[in-house]
């Protein structure tokens, strides 16, 4: 029987979750149903965040759908946040991808390029995704919407539960409220708590795409969360200095990105054995890739969270915003190795 190759509409995972949260919240009588279908449709198809999140709850925007404030301060900060997001995506994420993709395409990595490529990918996915989220939040502000924050320096997390409070926050809270808690959360004994954590994260993995590699990624995170929960205060990580806790958590998160990035079981095996067992020898890393990794580490780990929200509409704010905006346009978009308009078949 041939598989049905259905074309999925853009953003389906996001508006499915948003519609589900609306339906469930209305059922639970936590929100009052929308009075107008147009308001509901606006909520589901709100264009700034339709494609890549953040996942917005109806309760968050219910009032804003009816009444929005358009203030110069908010519009100015919206422009700044949008420019920051654009720069994150085009200047940082795409630059990291430029270094990572050839390593993935080449295959058969040594320990250096296996770790190097995964570090680059960890940076790419963070700056790509958080860049999109910032752009959505910035665009939202231009239209008077206040969308929820989606990332808070996740790679500085000191534990896995901390990581999930900082990474794709709107997804993790969605999973908590609509999956983990209804499954019983931590109210039905220890065993059930661990199982619920595991199930929630497995389904969270599947939300990214119905394939085994996302399932593996979700299962990995679920297991780590469950183990952390089981150890509680006896967790040996807690006795280490903060920077070491963060590094260990970061290292494990990077390992779990392997099945997320590589979709064939064989490639996942090759990468993990190169990273953990040195199966591919030492390998090598281009100097430009090392520079890119350094860029990522500086940008992702050093600044304190919330930097982007300290914007002021003064001369400095304007210089930073326009600087980011122009740099993103000129260097990022202009990078023609990804030239999308070049019709290359002829």
């Amino acid at each position: 029987v041939p598989l049905i190759q259905a074309a999925l509409p853009v953003g389906i995972s996001f508006y499915t979750f948003q519609s589900m949260s609306y339906t469930i919240d209305v059922y639970r009588r936590e929100v009052t149903p929308a009075r107008s279908f147009v308001d509901f449709a606006t909520f589901v198809a709100l264009f700034p965040q339709l494609i890549a999140g953040p996942i917005v709850r109806y309760s968050v925007v219910a009032d804003q759908l009816v009444q929005r404030r358009h203030e110069p301060n908010r519009i100015a900060s919206g422009l700044a946040i949008f420019s920051l997001g654009l720069a994150k995506k085009l200047l940082v994420a795409d630059t990291l991808a430029l270094e990572a993709d050839p390593i993935f395409a080449r295959g058969s990595p040594g320990i250096l390029d296996a770790w190097g490529s995964m570090l680059l990918y960890a940076g790419q996915i963070y700056f790509d995704f958080s860049g999109y989220s910032d752009m959505a939040i910035g665009l939202g502000r231009l239209f008077g919407f206040e969308l929820p924050v989606n990332f808070a320096a996740p790679y500085r997390a000191r534990s896995f539960s901390d990581f999930w409070r900082r990474w794709h926050i709107t997804l993790s809270t969605w999973l908590r409220d609509y999956l983990y808690v209804p499954l019983g959360g931590n109210r039905r004994g220890r065993g059930r708590t661990y199982l619920n954590l595991l199930l929630t994260m497995m389904l969270g993995g599947l939300w990214h795409g119905a394939s085994w590699n996302f399932l593996l990624w979700g299962t990995g995170h679920g297991l780590l969360l469950a183990i952390e929960r089981a150890l509680g205060p006896k967790n040996p990580l807690l006795r280490l200095p903060g920077w070491l806790q963060s590094s260990i958590v970061f290292g494990l998160v990077v390992l779990l990105w392997v099945p997320f990035r590589l979709d064939s079981p064989a490639a996942v095996g090759v990468w993990l054995s190169a990273m953990l067992l040195g199966a591919g020898g030492l390998g090598h890393l281009e100097p430009t890739a090392v520079l890119a990794i350094a860029l990522f580490v500086v940008l992702a780990l050093v600044p304190k969270p919330g930097l982007e929200w300290r914007f002021q509409p003064n001369g400095r704010g304007l210089a930073v915003t326009t600087g980011l905006f122009l740099a993103a346009l000129l260097v990022g978009y202009g990078r023609l190795s990804t030239s999308p308009f070049l019709y290359f078949r002829f």
């Binding site: 110069p72 422009l79 430009t288 003064n314 346009l329 978009y333 202009g334 990078r335 002829f346």
Partner: protein, 358 residues
Amino acid sequence: MSDAQKFILRFGLLYALLLAWSLGFERPEFRPWELVKDPDTPYFFPSRRVEMTEIGDLAFRSWIRELADPRETVFSTDRFGFRNPEDMTHARIVALGDSYVAGAGLRDDETFAVRLGAELGEPVYSVAVHTANSPSLFLSERRFEERPPELVVFLPSNRLVKPLRIARGDYRRAKPQPVGLAAVVPALARANEVLARDNGLTRSLRMLYNGALYRLRGYPGVIEVEGRPALALPLAEQLCFLTPEQRDMSGAIASALELARILSSRGTRMIYAPIPDSAEVYPELFPPEELARCAKPSLFDRLIPEARAAGLEVVDLRAELRAQKARYLYRLDDSHWAPHAVEIAARAVAQAARRAGH
């Protein structure tokens, strides 16, 4: 005015200035081909003549100055939108094909139709275009039905060896262009796109950036040809990793047969001469580990004998090019063939054509 209002005003002003500035830039044109092809129809713009120093499509994509091999070119079209002398309307021999036959990167006097004409001592009319549609365009023109040519040579390039829908159609109708206010939004959108994608400043930045990157660690797809670096179309884009089945080679042969059958009913003979990409002629120039992923047998390994067995009159251009490969047969910065490769192909096709008295 508050700080925030000033901020918005300045940001908006900057954006408007950038937008206005970018309205002056068009898409970067690196070869006449891009100026002459009509984006709304399968034809070139009729009665055009473009002269320019061009760089190859691969040089354009890499934006590395050292790898570009600039060339002076002239590209002219007839009043039907094909690449022929302007007053030419007909000939006893017609060439069908895509960019290879139309001559992307070649001067008017270097195209396949001109070289074949020189070999045979009579003019050859080119119906090659910038899409895979050439056979259907030929069939849709009444002038070729009323006075059918005696010989049609069909030379699809490697990437366009695929099943074609051989049909007559109304291909000349262009999409209506918006006028008045309705044209403003697309124009602004286009300016926005140009602003975001490409202009003089981004081009110089890109050249600096990619040039530095190239010097630091090379650039994928660079091969060494006659002691100098050249750009080759990546193997994936040559469709090298796909098997003949995955490319539906049988479908391609079936549609060529269908074309030959229609032509034969008009008393026209057809020669089929698919054009190989560089990996079929120069596999040794590509990295062995990448080459190992190419399908075996390759498309041409099977296409030539199977097309012959199916009853097509085939010229094996891969064999002809391989036999004279000492001088590199593709452009150093472009995915298409070089002028002397066109001559080899024209000679081989002419030889086949003469066998039936042309």
